[in-house]
Amino acid sequence: MIKSLHKRKSELANSNKQVEFLSNGIFKGGELATFNTKIAETNQFPLRPKKLEILQINLGYMCNQVCEHCHVDAGPDRKEIMTKETMLHCLDVIKTTNAHTLDLTGGAPEMNPNFRWFVDEASKAGIKDFIVRSNLTILRANKKYYDLPEFFKNHNIHVISSMPHWTKGKTDKQRGSGVFDKSIKALEELNAIGYGMPNSSLKLDLVYNPSGAFLPGNQVALEKDFKKALHDDFGIQFHNLFAITNLPISRFLDYLIASENYEDYMYALVEAYNPEAVKNVMCTNTISVSWDGFLYDCDFNQMLELPVSSKVKHISEYNEEQLQERTIITSQHCYGCTAGAGSSCQGNIIPA
């Protein structure tokens, strides 16, 4: 198992270094336009929020996996975990927010010791779409997690899980040895209790990230191929596939630099830039909350430690109206969300 950048004491574990790297080189010399210059061409700078739809809460960076592309730099060695006190602040917000979607992520959010209590309490608020981003293998990692599928079902949780390919080779290469087999087992268990079945209200969606320095292909075509292969090979069913572009930050940035793919990848992102995608990029309808309660425009800005540009900085002082007045912090990594059909935690921004 590889180690996190933090454990390796890599220079890129420092988010300031990442931001600095992304602002220099091909972007400093003007070889490629900076993101802010690019969106200004269509009068979209600065980006401003629209109606808040999604409250995304990161319960901690601890994870049982260490994926090569992880933008969180998550892993078993990360100790940043949301406390119960911060969760209580989050619950106050969940009860009053206008957002229709609550999205719990990590790391592996299930590894937070107060995860079940938090889900119990949060589900009482009656939010329309309650998502848990599960890496699947956690459901098979330890006996104490074996009943999580039933727990999800009892709380009508919408499960979104990562699955980089329908073959073992590609999946294990990105996510670690043995991940594919465990993920298949977890998907079979979720299917067995109704998740992902054609007419089931128990939603099960998969997330596809390219396993390398290339952009995702057509989401509809990939979904078709995933559905056929997983059904033919294992009898597995799911609802939607979200094709997500890897953003050039954290471990994926480290990989791009080490493999000498960084410049070509940035060129590919800039060439695929689509001004239409900018209009609905996810930071315009999302607030991201970090494990320690600070507020960000998106999960990526959280990892780069670029907080919201607002007087309201922390969940304990949350004020939705005031947050809606902010401008969104953007930089070169944002090209990852505006390439082609656009990319967000809900997949393509522009529907096929």
């Binding site: 073959t167 390219p210 292909g217 191929d225 995933f226």
Partner: protein, 111 residues
């Protein structure tokens, strides 16, 4: 003068071909894009055919383009290599099948 005949950066300039003949360039790219759209064959199948043909005609631009295209479509390296062996088999077979011509000639001339 550039030191190599092929420059990877030139692939990105392919569209500029139209600048010196707008009508024919546009017609070509319209045709090209139509060819690769889903039809009786899927876009995925067409991508694999393109990759195999790229190797047959030994076009570095095309190999670059359709290797990347295949990865984006989730095509595995095993599938790509199988497609290349189809190209290699046809190309090798095309040489070898001419052996029949050689044999005919030998049989005609030898006592």
């Amino acid at each position: 003068m550039q030191k190599t005949y092929y420059d990877p950066a030139d692939l990105k300039k392919f569209g500029k071909i139209s600048e010196w003949n707008e009508e024919l360039g546009s017609k070509f790219f319209e045709y090209y894009n139509s060819v690769f759209m889903e039809g009786n064959l899927s876009e995925r199948e067409k991508s694999l055919i393109a990759l195999a043909v790229s190797h047959t005609i030994q076009c570095p631009y095309c190999i670059d383009a359709y290797t990347g295209d295949g990865l984006q479509r989730g095509i595995t390296k095993e599938e790509m290599m199988e497609a290349l062996h189809v190209a290699a088999a046809i190309r090798g077979g095309a040489s070898l099948v001419h052996g029949v011509q050689m044999m005919n000639k030998v049989n005609k001339l030898e006592m």
